[in-house]
């Protein structure tokens, strides 16, 4: 049976409802919330600050340390708290997705800590986490060459769709999930994972769809960042 209609009535190239907010954690140097559909990610940035133990320091550039975690109440079946194989992997790919846009050479021997918490999950959590972390880094005043936006695309049944939800990820005839992170200006790929089967043509089609989705996410990010200091303009 072909996949003809999405359960929540979206078009195949339509994102879920997005909202973003910056500066939600007062004691952090930078923080942001990113929501896409029922998936909510919050990110906090601390640093640049001294890195201990000292043997971890890099005299050439700052160390970027990401920590992704899901709250135990974020999913329907209680998630065991603490790091897991999955969260360690996602922390690592998040780090790689963000490091390329940061000017880490400006702060040698320091660390920039990024903590990402998923407080509600309905698929696409790593993408929401990256989008939130990019905003939090900008809010923390860390020099960045570009912003990063991430979205998941994939193949559900025989259709190429954007922003899969949990139902679609678990589609019984097979679904392929492809999380993609792109830089805003040059549309360079900083994250691409693939779980499932696709042909080359389908993958190219999916990436094209992701470009469009990331543009939409980027505009929401920019708006949220400018919102915080809106009144400063005439101050």
């Amino acid at each position: 049976m072909a996949y003809s209609k999405r359960k929540d009535g979206r078009k195949f190239d339509e994102l879920r409802k997005i909202s973003a907010q910056v500066g939600i954690i007062k004691r952090a140097d930078g923080s942001a919330m990113f929501q896409i559909g029922d998936t909510i990610a919050i990110a906090a940035v601390y640093g640049p600050r001294e890195l201990h133990p000292r043997f971890l320091q890099n005299p050439e550039k700052a160390v970027l340390r990401c920590n992704y975690d899901m709250a135990s109440f974020s999913v329907t079946e209680r998630k065991k708290p603490g790091p897991s194989r999955r969260s360690v992997e996602i922390s690592l790919v998040t780090e790689k997705a963000l490091a390329s846009v940061l000017d880490l050479e400006l702060f040698p021997n320091t660390v920039i800590d990024v903590f990402i918490q998923i407080i509600q999950a309905n698929a696409g959590t790593r993408c929401a986490g990256i989008s939130a972390a990019a905003m939090a880094l900008a809010h923390a005043g860390i020099p960045m060459r570009d912003m990063v936006a991430a979205v998941s695309v994939g193949k559900v049944g025989d259709k190429i769709v954007i922003d899969l939800d949990k139902h679609e990820e678990d589609f019984e005839e097979g679904a392929t999930d492809i999380p993609i992170a792109l830089t805003a200006r040059n549309k360079e790929v900083t994250l691409l994972q693939l779980d499932g089967e696709v042909t080359k043509d389908e993958l190219m089609q999916a990436i094209k769809l992701a470009r469009k989705g990331c543009e939409e996410i980027h505009s929401v990010q920019v708006q949220a960042l400018k919102e915080v200091y809106k009144e400063d303009k005439d101050g």
């Binding site: 140097d29 923390a140 005043g141 960045m144 060459r145 200006r185 009144e231």
Partner: protein
């Protein structure tokens, strides 16, 4: 053809295009890629001559030579103290830069100990990493009593006001001794706790409402009538 894309004093985000063409040059908070100049920080656009720069609205304290700062001693070694001044690196206070005479080999923690707070001046900054402080100068000393509050470093000019108008008004009304460090640490010492609390609340009010018009009047009113929803 060179052209300015972002207007003066608009808010820009990292990666936003500021200007195009080789006639403009990237200043602080901006960089060039190809023909275009982009922002690398969240801040306000500032154009001075050919330079396009971005004044950051957030971020850690960026030390500059001559700044008066308030910092906490975080480490004592042989011949120098390390001071936490709220930026990415610890600042150094050399024994030669303190007013006391210190014998060779003396235990430095007898003079300035861990967690003690000092008002110091930045004398040298090398690529924002090597920060040297001095305690020789008027008003530079160890702090005793009172309380320290922290504000965002970018809001400090607003708290001080034009030629110190805002801060002297607060000092006058609350009869508190207040020192504002450029790094966002503010020391308040008054005759009694009530006055200290009042000064604290007013300063935090300035931080929260720093973008509004007629701030001096609002604060004056608040000082005279007491802050609503306060303690």
């Amino acid at each position: 053809m060179s052209k300015l894309i972002a207007e003066e004093r608009t808010i820009v985000v990292p990666g936003e295009k500021l200007a195009t063409g080789m006639e403009y040059l990237p200043g602080n908070g901006a960089f060039r890629e190809g023909d275009d100049i982009y922002s690398c920080q969240l801040g306000l656009v500032n154009v001075s001559g050919r330079f396009v720069k971005v004044i950051p609205l957030t971020g850690k304290y960026n030390p500059r030579e001559g700044d008066i700062i308030i910092g906490k001693i975080s480490d004592v070694s042989f011949g120098m103290w390390f001071v936490n001044i709220g930026c990415a690196y610890l600042a150094c206070l050399n024994v030669r830069e303190v007013p006391e005479f210190i014998d060779k080999g003396a235990d430095l923690s007898n003079y300035y100990d861990f967690n003690e707070v000092i008002i110091a001046q930045v004398i040298k900054v090398v690529r924002s990493k090597d920060i040297n402080l001095t305690l020789k100068g008027q008003g530079l000393r160890k702090i005793n009593g009172g309380k320290i509050i922290e504000v965002t470093p970018s809001k400090v000019p607003r708290i001080i006001g034009k030629q110190g108008s805002m801060i002297s008004m607060i000092k006058e009304h609350t009869k508190c001794n207040i020192v504002v460090g450029q790094n966002g640490n503010i020391w308040i010492k008054g005759d009694n706790v009530e006055n200290e609390v009042k000064a604290t609340e007013v300063i935090l009010k300035i931080e929260n409402e720093s973008h509004t018009h007629g701030l001096t009047d609002t604060i004056k009113k608040a000082l005279e009538e007491g802050i609503e929803n306060g303690l």
